[in-house]
Amino acid sequence: MVDFGFGLVPSSRINLDLFDREKYDKLTAIEPDARICISCGSCTAVCTAGQFAHTSLREALDDILNANPDKALESLRSCQLCGKCAMVCPRGINTRHLILSIIKVYSGE
């Protein structure tokens, strides 16, 4: 194929065929709050662990929907479960349980 010098940045490419419906259903079954996030980013703004390493629940949820669960796990691996995100979440999401559930569902096997 002729290379015109254009192209998508590889990291931004989203292949929804890779989206794991089974695991996502499992996640929403144990923590239904996963569906109600509005990606406002309040959780990330106040994150204690975020001062030391990249940590973002908002990005993790987006990455899961964008079929990139490994990146989601990476965004959560430094989480200290301090619960500040739960205090500021405008949707009242049970963030600590959501984080534990994501790690449980996606880091299995």
Partner: protein, 661 residues
């Protein structure tokens, strides 16, 4: 010198008691003998298995503790106070305490007195080969009182036996009444009994009326006192001279046998197993698994009394009753894995069920252990912490200094903050380190007030996490992630020890509990700011202006029940205004609903709990609710703002804010 009992025995020329049945056996004892043998074998095997499952060093500690005089005294005190007299229930709910102690203590006394009687009058029957298993229980059936030779000693025992039987019967009457109208005895909710519980319960109710029946039928032969003789006269009136008493003794024995057979499968096993739990508890052995070893002793020590049902803050909604500790323990006992896990995750960890439990079953600890079985092994990566801590710990504070770039979301190129003048000074000489913690950082008003108190009192302090710090590790432990928590503890401990402070002041009870219990900071005094400020007031360094405000103090769970700090905050607040009472305070205080302990409780349920807690706090119509926890402060502030008009006049303030006027 002749011993006293021989003098007393020698005084009788003719025997006081004659063996009515020389063989000392009758067929009716079979149901009882079978039942109690089965139960005792089951208990023995269970105890051996349980002790075998405890780690070796814990087992050694346990056996050693049985010979330490201090622990022996404590064991005896607890066994009498908790198992028999139920003093803990008496203090809270006298009628309920009477009911429990009547059945427990009364029954105990009847067994003991029965054995003493046998030992005094027919001592040969005490040996196991001679019917010692059942003879003292059915003593009255086997003997005949020699008429005209009954001594004062004999009558004394007759009276005591009748007295305690009446005592038990009054307790049973209350227990039956409680099944229908528990609220009269101070219980809103009661436990739903399982099938085995029902069998044991109904046979327990029958045992003592049947005993009265059996003993009253034979009272003219084997003696009795005010109760049995009185009833005996009535039977004679009704049935004439000859009383056919064997069926009554059969019925009594069958009810006992049925009870003992059902006992291992019902909640009534607690009668004996709680003894083991109390001994283990006083030896200081903690469970490390939700089901095995010490935990098993705890599970079997639960009497399903249901006091934790009314205690649990979640139970303001009836649908949450199933998440109470009593059911958690019941499902643990039945190995119902699915339900165990759901119940363990729901709990707020406010510790109220543990504080109010008559035998001190630590259900929250078992829930944490259960969470650990699922969450402890989940992967985590805290390498980022060890990467930064060297530079920060050297200055004694977490705040990055001006020469180091701040790491924001992993990018080390963000703007460095303005170094505050305080942190740029050498820290080694500073005696006081203030650690605000994650939660306090979301309620800056607390930080502002605490700093203003420090300045007013002229305290030389260092603000450890002014520019942000790590979590203390307690939230991880509450979620059962002990290994991850250990990493944070290690890093924080290093930071604090290298700061060279002598006192660590914390404004968050969650941090306070873990710093006090897990950090083992040698030579550093760990105090909560309520304690520290109270000391400052007492020593005259901090002046507080007395106003005519009506204050009510909310005991945060982790500070009150968690660390036993109840009086310092109240003493300090008493100097700043008038303290009014909440309807539930001290260890009865209701969780604000914002607790980090619960993993799965949703916002709506939490709001209901906050509402209930506010209702209790505003019982004395205060104008300010004072709390000493950032989570409580935030939860209550939001709940008051969202509630109806009557609540709107109430202000929610932090402890430090109130001290500053």
């Amino acid at each position: 010198m002749t011993p006293l009992f021989q003098i007393l025995a020698a005084q009788d020329v003719a025997p006081e008691v004659i063996d009515r049945i020389p063989s000392g056996y009758s067929h009716f004892v079979i149901p009882f003998a079978v039942g109690i043998t089965f139960m005792l074998c089951w208990l023995l095997v269970g105890c051996v298995r349980l002790l075998a499952a405890i780690p070796r060093h814990d087992r050694l500690t346990f056996f050693k503790s049985l010979f330490i005089p201090k622990t022996i005294v404590r064991n005896l005190k607890d066994l009498f106070g908790d198992c028999l007299l139920h003093l803990k229930i008496w203090r809270r709910k006298p009628l309920l305490g009477y009911m429990h102690s009547a059945i427990a203590f009364g029954w105990f006394m009847i067994i003991v007195l029965g054995h003493i009687e046998v030992a005094l009058f027919v001592p040969k029957r005490l040996s196991v080969t001679n019917g010692g298993l059942f003879y003292p229980i059915f003593y009255r059936y086997f003997v005949w009182m020699n008429p005209g030779h009954t001594t004062l000693r004999g009558s004394f025992f007759f009276f005591l036996m009748d007295f305690f039987l009446l005592y038990i019967l009054s307790g049973i009457a209350l227990a039956v009444f409680k099944r229908f109208r528990s609220i009269v005895l101070g219980m809103r909710h009661t436990t739903k009994p399982s099938l085995a519980d029902r069998v044991a319960l109904y046979s327990l109710w029958l045992i003592f009326p049947l005993r009265l029946l059996a003993e009253s039928f034979t009272a003219d032969l084997s003696g009795g006192s005010f109760l049995t003789v009185g009833v005996n006269r009535f039977w004679h009136l009704l049935f004439g001279d000859k009383l056919w008493f064997t069926p009554c003794w059969w019925a009594y024995s069958i009810s006992l046998g049925l009870f003992f057979v059902a006992m291992p499968f019902s909640r009534y096993m607690h009668i004996l197993t709680e003894v083991l739990w109390i001994l283990l508890r006083n030896a200081g052995i903690k469970p490390n698994h939700p089901r095995k070893g010490v935990a098993e002793a705890e599970i079997y020590a639960c009497s399903s009394c249901g006091l934790c049902l009314d205690a649990c803050p979640m139970n303001v909604q009836k649908k949450n009753l199933k998440y109470s500790s009593v059911y958690f323990i019941r499902f643990l006992r039945r190995h119902n894995e699915k339900k165990i896990s759901a119940i363990a995750d729901k709990c707020l960890m406010c510790d109220k069920c543990h504080a109010l439990c008559p035998v001190g079953v630590d259900a929250p600890a078992l829930r944490r252990a259960q969470r650990a079985t699922e969450n402890n092994s989940l992967p985590f990566d805290y390498s980022c912490i060890s990467a930064v801590d060297t530079g920060l710990a050297a200055t004694g504070v977490w705040a990055p200094d001006a020469s180091r770039p701040v790491r924001v979301n992993g990018r080390p190129d963000a703007l460095p903050p303005d170094p505050s003048p305080q942190e740029s000074l050498p820290d080694a000489s500073r005696p006081v380190l203030y650690f605000a913690g994650c939660m306090t950082r979301l309620t800056p008003r607390i930080i502002k007030a605490v700093e203003s108190v420090f300045e007013a009192a002229g305290v030389d302090y260092v603000f450890a996490d002014r520019e942000g710090g790590m979590c203390c590790g307690r939230p991880l432990m509450l979620a059962g992630r002990n290994d991850a928590a250990a990493k944070l503890i290690e890093a924080n401990k290093k930071m604090i020890e290298e700061s060279g402070c002598s006192t660590l002041v914390l404004s968050c009870p969650i941090c306070y509990k873990i710093f006090k219990e897990e950090y083992r900071l040698e030579g550093i005094k760990v105090t909560h700011y309520t304690q520290y400020f109270n000391e400052l007031i007492a020593s005259g360094r901090l002046k507080v202006e007395k106003t005519d405000r009506k204050l009510v103090y909310h005991d945060p769970c982790e500070l009150g029940r968690g660390c036993g700090v109840y009086f310092e905050p109240r003493a300090a607040l008493g100097k700043a205004g008038t303290l009014v009472k909440a309807s539930m305070e001290y260890d009865e205080s209701i969780c604000c609903g914002g607790s980090l302990g619960s993993l799965t409780l949703d916002v709506k349920d939490r709001a209901k709990i906050a509402e209930a807690s506010l209702k209790s706090l505003t019982a004395g119509s205060p104008d300010t609710i004072v709390t000493a926890c950032p989570l409580c402060l935030k939860t209550f502030s939001e709940a008051v703002a969202n509630s109806g008009s009557p609540m709107n006049g109430v202000a929610v303030k932090d402890f430090a804010e109130v001290l500053r006027g």
